[in-house]
Protein backbone atom coordinates (compact mmCIF):
# COMPACT_ATOMS: atom_id res chain seq x y z
CA UNK A 1 0.00 0.00 0.00
CA UNK A 2 1.62 3.23 -1.08
CA UNK A 3 0.68 6.80 -0.27
CA UNK A 4 -0.65 7.37 -3.78
CA UNK A 5 -2.91 4.30 -3.77
CA UNK A 6 -5.89 5.01 -1.56
CA UNK A 7 -7.41 2.45 0.78
CA UNK A 8 -10.51 0.73 -0.52
CA UNK A 9 -13.76 0.87 1.45
CA UNK A 10 -13.43 -2.81 2.32
CA UNK A 11 -9.89 -2.23 3.59
CA UNK A 12 -11.02 0.66 5.77
CA UNK A 13 -13.86 -1.38 7.21
CA UNK A 14 -11.60 -4.39 7.78
CA UNK A 15 -9.14 -2.12 9.59
CA UNK A 16 -11.87 -0.77 11.87
CA UNK A 17 -13.19 -4.32 12.39
CA UNK A 18 -9.65 -5.41 13.33
CA UNK A 19 -9.86 -7.99 10.58
CA UNK A 20 -6.69 -7.03 8.67
CA UNK A 21 -3.52 -9.07 9.03
CA UNK A 22 -0.92 -7.40 11.24
CA UNK A 23 1.29 -6.35 8.33
CA UNK A 24 -1.57 -5.01 6.25
CA UNK A 25 -2.95 -3.14 9.26
CA UNK A 26 0.45 -1.49 9.81
CA UNK A 27 0.62 -0.40 6.18
CA UNK A 28 -2.95 0.90 6.29
CA UNK A 29 -2.26 2.98 9.40
CA UNK A 30 0.90 4.35 7.83
CA UNK A 31 -1.08 5.35 4.78
CA UNK A 32 -3.78 6.99 6.88
CA UNK A 33 -1.16 9.05 8.68
CA UNK A 34 -0.13 10.55 5.35
CA UNK A 35 -3.41 10.66 3.42
CA UNK A 36 -6.04 13.21 4.43
CA UNK A 37 -8.70 11.83 2.09
CA UNK A 38 -8.49 8.28 3.44
CA UNK A 39 -8.34 9.62 7.02
CA UNK A 40 -11.59 11.50 6.50
CA UNK A 41 -13.27 8.44 4.99
CA UNK A 42 -12.04 6.31 7.88
CA UNK A 43 -13.28 8.86 10.42
CA UNK A 44 -16.69 8.92 8.73
CA UNK A 45 -16.96 5.16 8.99
CA UNK A 46 -15.81 5.22 12.59
CA UNK A 47 -18.65 7.66 13.30
CA UNK A 48 -21.08 5.23 11.71
CA UNK A 49 -19.72 2.42 13.86
CA UNK A 50 -20.13 4.61 16.94
CA UNK A 51 -23.69 5.47 15.89
CA UNK A 52 -24.53 1.78 15.67
CA UNK A 53 -23.35 1.39 19.26
CA UNK A 54 -26.02 3.82 20.41
CA UNK A 55 -28.76 1.20 20.23
CA UNK A 56 -30.55 1.42 23.55
CA UNK A 57 -31.86 -1.82 24.95
CA UNK A 58 -35.46 -1.86 26.05
CA UNK A 59 -37.10 -4.61 28.10
CA UNK A 60 -39.82 -6.85 26.70
CA UNK A 61 -43.40 -5.69 27.20
CA UNK A 62 -43.86 -8.25 30.00
CA UNK A 63 -41.66 -10.21 32.37
CA UNK A 64 -40.63 -13.41 30.56
CA UNK A 65 -39.35 -15.11 33.71
CA UNK A 66 -42.57 -16.54 35.23
CA UNK A 67 -43.51 -18.18 31.93
CA UNK A 68 -40.04 -19.68 31.54
CA UNK A 69 -40.01 -21.08 35.08
CA UNK A 70 -43.55 -22.43 34.71
CA UNK A 71 -42.72 -24.21 31.47
CA UNK A 72 -39.53 -25.65 32.93
CA UNK A 73 -41.35 -26.87 36.04
CA UNK A 74 -44.00 -28.63 33.97
CA UNK A 75 -41.50 -30.18 31.62
CA UNK A 76 -38.68 -31.52 33.74
CA UNK A 77 -38.53 -34.54 31.46
CA UNK A 78 -38.84 -34.15 27.68
CA UNK A 79 -42.30 -35.16 26.47
CA UNK A 80 -40.96 -37.72 24.01
CA UNK A 81 -38.96 -39.36 26.75
CA UNK A 82 -41.90 -39.67 29.15
CA UNK A 83 -44.12 -41.20 26.43
CA UNK A 84 -41.40 -43.63 25.44
CA UNK A 85 -40.89 -44.54 29.09
CA UNK A 86 -44.59 -45.29 29.48
CA UNK A 87 -44.57 -47.47 26.35
CA UNK A 88 -41.52 -49.35 27.57
CA UNK A 89 -43.05 -49.86 31.00
CA UNK A 90 -46.20 -51.24 29.34
CA UNK A 91 -44.13 -53.63 27.28
CA UNK A 92 -42.24 -54.81 30.36
CA UNK A 93 -45.57 -55.46 32.08
CA UNK A 94 -46.81 -57.42 29.05
CA UNK A 95 -43.69 -59.56 29.06
CA UNK A 96 -44.07 -60.19 32.79
CA UNK A 97 -47.69 -61.30 32.32
CA UNK A 98 -46.76 -63.63 29.48
CA UNK A 99 -43.92 -65.13 31.49
CA UNK A 100 -45.98 -65.50 34.67
CA UNK A 101 -47.19 -69.11 33.96
CA UNK A 102 -43.55 -70.14 33.85
CA UNK A 103 -42.39 -68.50 37.07
CA UNK A 104 -45.55 -68.65 39.23
CA UNK A 105 -45.03 -72.25 40.41
CA UNK A 106 -41.48 -71.41 41.45
CA UNK A 107 -42.65 -68.59 43.70
CA UNK A 108 -45.57 -70.51 45.16
CA UNK A 109 -43.51 -73.57 46.11
CA UNK A 110 -40.41 -71.76 47.32
CA UNK A 111 -39.88 -72.54 51.01
CA UNK A 112 -37.80 -70.00 52.83
CA UNK A 113 -35.91 -71.75 55.65
CA UNK A 114 -36.73 -70.47 59.10
CA UNK A 115 -33.97 -69.12 61.30
CA UNK A 116 -33.19 -71.58 64.06
CA UNK A 117 -33.17 -70.57 67.68
CA UNK A 118 -30.33 -68.50 69.01
CA UNK A 119 -29.40 -71.28 71.42
CA UNK A 120 -27.43 -72.94 68.56
CA UNK A 121 -23.84 -71.94 67.88
CA UNK A 122 -22.79 -69.94 64.79
CA UNK A 123 -21.46 -72.96 62.84
CA UNK A 124 -24.53 -75.00 63.67
CA UNK A 125 -26.77 -72.13 62.54
CA UNK A 126 -24.80 -71.83 59.29
CA UNK A 127 -25.08 -75.56 58.64
CA UNK A 128 -28.79 -75.48 59.31
CA UNK A 129 -29.20 -72.52 56.90
CA UNK A 130 -27.27 -74.33 54.16
CA UNK A 131 -29.34 -77.46 54.64
CA UNK A 132 -32.51 -75.45 54.50
CA UNK A 133 -31.38 -73.74 51.24
CA UNK A 134 -30.57 -77.09 49.67
CA UNK A 135 -33.96 -78.43 50.58
CA UNK A 136 -35.61 -75.30 49.23
CA UNK A 137 -33.67 -75.58 45.96
CA UNK A 138 -34.73 -79.18 45.56
CA UNK A 139 -38.31 -78.23 46.29
CA UNK A 140 -38.10 -75.38 43.78
CA UNK A 141 -36.60 -77.48 41.05
CA UNK A 142 -39.40 -80.00 40.95
CA UNK A 143 -42.22 -77.47 40.35
CA UNK A 144 -40.07 -75.86 37.67
CA UNK A 145 -39.82 -79.15 35.84
CA UNK A 146 -43.51 -79.74 36.41
CA UNK A 147 -44.26 -76.29 35.05
CA UNK A 148 -42.16 -76.86 31.93
CA UNK A 149 -43.95 -80.15 31.44
CA UNK A 150 -47.30 -78.41 31.83
CA UNK A 151 -46.26 -75.82 29.24
CA UNK A 152 -45.43 -78.51 26.76
CA UNK A 153 -48.87 -80.02 27.28
CA UNK A 154 -50.68 -76.70 26.89
CA UNK A 155 -52.94 -75.92 23.97
CA UNK A 156 -51.00 -75.66 20.67
CA UNK A 157 -52.28 -72.12 19.95
CA UNK A 158 -50.84 -70.82 23.25
CA UNK A 159 -47.47 -72.36 22.46
CA UNK A 160 -47.40 -70.74 19.02
CA UNK A 161 -48.88 -67.40 20.02
CA UNK A 162 -46.87 -66.65 23.15
CA UNK A 163 -43.37 -66.64 21.62
CA UNK A 164 -44.63 -64.47 18.79
CA UNK A 165 -46.05 -61.91 21.24
CA UNK A 166 -42.90 -61.94 23.35
CA UNK A 167 -40.69 -61.59 20.27
CA UNK A 168 -42.85 -58.72 19.01
CA UNK A 169 -42.73 -56.99 22.38
CA UNK A 170 -38.96 -57.34 22.52
CA UNK A 171 -38.63 -55.97 18.99
CA UNK A 172 -40.74 -52.93 19.85
CA UNK A 173 -38.71 -52.42 23.02
CA UNK A 174 -35.45 -52.50 21.07
CA UNK A 175 -36.84 -50.11 18.46
CA UNK A 176 -38.10 -47.81 21.20
CA UNK A 177 -34.67 -47.70 22.78
CA UNK A 178 -33.10 -46.95 19.41
CA UNK A 179 -35.48 -44.05 18.87
CA UNK A 180 -34.71 -42.76 22.35
CA UNK A 181 -30.98 -42.90 21.75
CA UNK A 182 -31.33 -41.22 18.35
CA UNK A 183 -33.46 -38.47 19.88
CA UNK A 184 -30.94 -37.92 22.63
CA UNK A 185 -28.10 -37.69 20.12
CA UNK A 186 -30.07 -35.16 18.09
CA UNK A 187 -30.74 -33.12 21.20
CA UNK A 188 -27.06 -32.92 22.02
CA UNK A 189 -26.11 -31.88 18.51
CA UNK A 190 -25.23 -28.20 18.33
CA UNK A 191 -27.41 -25.95 16.24
CA UNK A 192 -26.04 -25.64 12.74
CA UNK A 193 -27.21 -22.46 11.14
CA UNK A 194 -28.61 -22.78 7.72
CA UNK A 195 -27.54 -20.39 5.02
CA UNK A 196 -29.24 -17.04 5.48
Amino acid sequence: MTETKHLSDLEIEALLDEALEAGAAREARAHLAACGACSRRTAARARLFAALETWEESPPSYDLTPGIVRRLSHRRMPLGLSLATAVQAGLALLIAVLAWPLVAPVFSSLQIPTIPGLELGFSATLAAQAEGLLLASEAALQPLLDSADAWLRMAPQWMTLSPAIVAGALLVAVLGNSILLAGDAAGRRSVRLRRL
Partner: protein, 182 residues
Protein backbone atom coordinates in the same frame (compact mmCIF):
# COMPACT_ATOMS: atom_id res chain seq x y z
CA UNK B 1 -23.65 -8.63 35.40
CA UNK B 2 -21.74 -10.45 38.13
CA UNK B 3 -20.10 -13.47 36.51
CA UNK B 4 -19.41 -15.17 39.83
CA UNK B 5 -23.05 -15.10 40.87
CA UNK B 6 -24.06 -16.16 37.34
CA UNK B 7 -21.78 -19.16 37.75
CA UNK B 8 -23.42 -19.98 41.06
CA UNK B 9 -26.87 -19.77 39.50
CA UNK B 10 -25.78 -22.05 36.65
CA UNK B 11 -24.51 -24.61 39.14
CA UNK B 12 -27.71 -24.42 41.19
CA UNK B 13 -29.72 -24.92 38.00
CA UNK B 14 -27.66 -27.96 37.14
CA UNK B 15 -28.49 -29.27 40.58
CA UNK B 16 -32.20 -29.12 39.71
CA UNK B 17 -33.15 -25.66 40.99
CA UNK B 18 -35.42 -24.25 38.29
CA UNK B 19 -35.86 -20.99 40.19
CA UNK B 20 -32.12 -20.35 39.91
CA UNK B 21 -32.51 -20.43 36.15
CA UNK B 22 -35.46 -18.08 36.53
CA UNK B 23 -33.09 -15.65 38.20
CA UNK B 24 -30.69 -15.92 35.26
CA UNK B 25 -33.58 -15.30 32.88
CA UNK B 26 -34.58 -12.26 34.92
CA UNK B 27 -31.05 -10.86 34.60
CA UNK B 28 -30.66 -11.40 30.89
CA UNK B 29 -34.14 -11.11 29.46
CA UNK B 30 -33.65 -7.50 28.34
CA UNK B 31 -30.40 -8.14 26.48
CA UNK B 32 -31.69 -11.38 24.97
CA UNK B 33 -34.93 -9.70 23.92
CA UNK B 34 -32.88 -6.91 22.32
CA UNK B 35 -30.91 -9.41 20.25
CA UNK B 36 -34.14 -11.02 19.07
CA UNK B 37 -35.80 -7.69 18.37
CA UNK B 38 -32.85 -6.36 16.36
CA UNK B 39 -32.77 -9.53 14.27
CA UNK B 40 -36.49 -10.10 13.83
CA UNK B 41 -37.80 -6.53 13.83
CA UNK B 42 -41.02 -7.50 15.58
CA UNK B 43 -41.39 -7.18 19.35
CA UNK B 44 -44.05 -9.88 19.84
CA UNK B 45 -42.06 -12.40 17.82
CA UNK B 46 -38.89 -11.33 19.65
CA UNK B 47 -40.54 -12.02 23.02
CA UNK B 48 -41.57 -15.51 21.89
CA UNK B 49 -38.11 -16.28 20.55
CA UNK B 50 -36.40 -14.88 23.65
CA UNK B 51 -38.48 -17.19 25.81
CA UNK B 52 -37.69 -20.13 23.55
CA UNK B 53 -33.99 -19.22 23.69
CA UNK B 54 -34.02 -19.47 27.48
CA UNK B 55 -35.76 -22.85 27.33
CA UNK B 56 -33.11 -24.10 24.91
CA UNK B 57 -30.38 -22.70 27.10
CA UNK B 58 -31.81 -24.63 30.05
CA UNK B 59 -31.69 -27.87 28.08
CA UNK B 60 -28.13 -27.20 26.94
CA UNK B 61 -26.79 -25.96 30.23
CA UNK B 62 -25.00 -29.29 30.70
CA UNK B 63 -22.65 -28.45 27.83
CA UNK B 64 -22.04 -24.85 28.96
CA UNK B 65 -18.52 -24.13 30.24
CA UNK B 66 -19.06 -22.42 33.59
CA UNK B 67 -15.65 -20.77 33.35
CA UNK B 68 -16.99 -18.62 30.52
CA UNK B 69 -19.45 -15.77 31.01
CA UNK B 70 -23.09 -16.73 30.72
CA UNK B 71 -24.35 -13.55 29.02
CA UNK B 72 -22.49 -13.78 25.68
CA UNK B 73 -23.27 -17.51 25.45
CA UNK B 74 -26.94 -16.83 26.07
CA UNK B 75 -27.11 -13.96 23.56
CA UNK B 76 -25.32 -15.99 20.92
CA UNK B 77 -27.73 -18.86 21.43
CA UNK B 78 -30.62 -16.42 21.00
CA UNK B 79 -29.02 -15.00 17.86
CA UNK B 80 -28.64 -18.50 16.39
CA UNK B 81 -32.27 -19.25 17.09
CA UNK B 82 -33.40 -16.01 15.42
CA UNK B 83 -31.15 -16.57 12.41
CA UNK B 84 -32.74 -19.97 11.92
CA UNK B 85 -36.15 -18.31 12.06
CA UNK B 86 -35.08 -15.65 9.57
CA UNK B 87 -33.80 -18.32 7.24
CA UNK B 88 -37.32 -19.68 6.93
CA UNK B 89 -38.68 -16.35 5.75
CA UNK B 90 -35.80 -15.47 3.46
CA UNK B 91 -36.80 -13.26 0.54
CA UNK B 92 -35.85 -14.18 -2.98
CA UNK B 93 -32.41 -13.14 -4.30
CA UNK B 94 -34.14 -10.88 -6.82
CA UNK B 95 -35.80 -8.90 -4.02
CA UNK B 96 -32.47 -8.51 -2.29
CA UNK B 97 -30.75 -7.24 -5.40
CA UNK B 98 -33.50 -4.65 -5.83
CA UNK B 99 -33.08 -3.51 -2.26
CA UNK B 100 -29.38 -3.00 -2.72
CA UNK B 101 -29.74 -1.20 -6.02
CA UNK B 102 -32.26 1.16 -4.45
CA UNK B 103 -29.56 2.73 -2.28
CA UNK B 104 -28.29 5.86 -4.03
CA UNK B 105 -25.08 7.77 -3.51
CA UNK B 106 -21.43 7.19 -4.07
CA UNK B 107 -20.37 4.24 -1.93
CA UNK B 108 -16.94 5.80 -1.50
CA UNK B 109 -18.41 8.71 0.41
CA UNK B 110 -20.03 8.64 3.83
CA UNK B 111 -21.17 12.13 4.90
CA UNK B 112 -21.41 13.47 8.42
CA UNK B 113 -24.22 11.98 10.46
CA UNK B 114 -27.20 14.29 10.69
CA UNK B 115 -28.95 15.48 13.88
CA UNK B 116 -28.22 15.34 17.59
CA UNK B 117 -27.62 12.18 19.61
CA UNK B 118 -31.29 11.51 20.32
CA UNK B 119 -32.07 11.74 16.65
CA UNK B 120 -29.14 9.47 15.78
CA UNK B 121 -30.38 6.91 18.31
CA UNK B 122 -33.82 7.02 16.73
CA UNK B 123 -32.45 6.76 13.22
CA UNK B 124 -30.22 3.82 14.14
CA UNK B 125 -33.22 2.01 15.57
CA UNK B 126 -35.48 2.62 12.60
CA UNK B 127 -32.67 2.09 10.09
CA UNK B 128 -31.69 -1.28 11.53
CA UNK B 129 -35.27 -2.47 11.45
CA UNK B 130 -35.57 -1.41 7.81
CA UNK B 131 -32.55 -3.45 6.72
CA UNK B 132 -33.17 -6.69 4.84
CA UNK B 133 -32.81 -9.72 7.11
CA UNK B 134 -29.44 -10.84 5.75
CA UNK B 135 -27.91 -7.38 6.27
CA UNK B 136 -29.44 -6.96 9.71
CA UNK B 137 -27.91 -10.32 10.62
CA UNK B 138 -24.35 -9.26 9.77
CA UNK B 139 -24.75 -5.96 11.62
CA UNK B 140 -26.04 -7.84 14.67
CA UNK B 141 -23.25 -10.40 14.66
CA UNK B 142 -20.45 -7.88 14.06
CA UNK B 143 -21.52 -4.85 16.07
CA UNK B 144 -23.59 -6.39 18.88
CA UNK B 145 -22.23 -9.94 19.22
CA UNK B 146 -18.66 -8.82 18.49
CA UNK B 147 -17.97 -11.77 16.21
CA UNK B 148 -14.96 -11.90 13.90
CA UNK B 149 -15.42 -12.30 10.15
CA UNK B 150 -14.50 -15.98 10.45
CA UNK B 151 -17.02 -16.57 13.22
CA UNK B 152 -19.71 -14.78 11.23
CA UNK B 153 -18.92 -16.84 8.14
CA UNK B 154 -19.22 -20.04 10.16
CA UNK B 155 -22.42 -18.92 11.85
CA UNK B 156 -24.10 -17.90 8.62
CA UNK B 157 -22.73 -20.69 6.46
CA UNK B 158 -21.18 -18.28 3.94
CA UNK B 159 -17.66 -17.32 2.95
CA UNK B 160 -15.62 -14.56 4.56
CA UNK B 161 -15.71 -12.58 1.30
CA UNK B 162 -19.50 -12.67 1.37
CA UNK B 163 -19.44 -11.50 5.00
CA UNK B 164 -17.33 -8.46 4.00
CA UNK B 165 -19.62 -7.67 1.10
CA UNK B 166 -22.79 -7.92 3.15
CA UNK B 167 -21.30 -5.82 5.93
CA UNK B 168 -20.25 -3.17 3.45
CA UNK B 169 -23.67 -3.05 1.85
CA UNK B 170 -25.48 -3.04 5.18
CA UNK B 171 -23.33 -0.20 6.48
CA UNK B 172 -23.78 1.76 3.30
CA UNK B 173 -27.53 1.49 3.65
CA UNK B 174 -27.34 2.48 7.30
CA UNK B 175 -25.11 5.44 6.48
CA UNK B 176 -27.55 6.61 3.86
CA UNK B 177 -30.49 6.42 6.25
CA UNK B 178 -28.57 8.06 9.07
CA UNK B 179 -27.52 11.00 6.94
CA UNK B 180 -30.73 11.38 4.99
CA UNK B 181 -32.50 14.68 5.64
CA UNK B 182 -35.96 13.14 5.13
Amino acid sequence: MDEASDRLLVQRTRGGDVNAFGELAQRYQTSVFSVCYRLLGDSAEAEDLAQEAFLRAFRRLGSFDVERPFGPWMRRLAANLCLNTLQQRRPTPAELDDEVDDVPGDPREMPELAGDRAEVVQRVRSGLLRLPDRYRAVIELRHYQDMSYDEMAAALGIGVGEVRTRLFRARRMMARWLTDDD
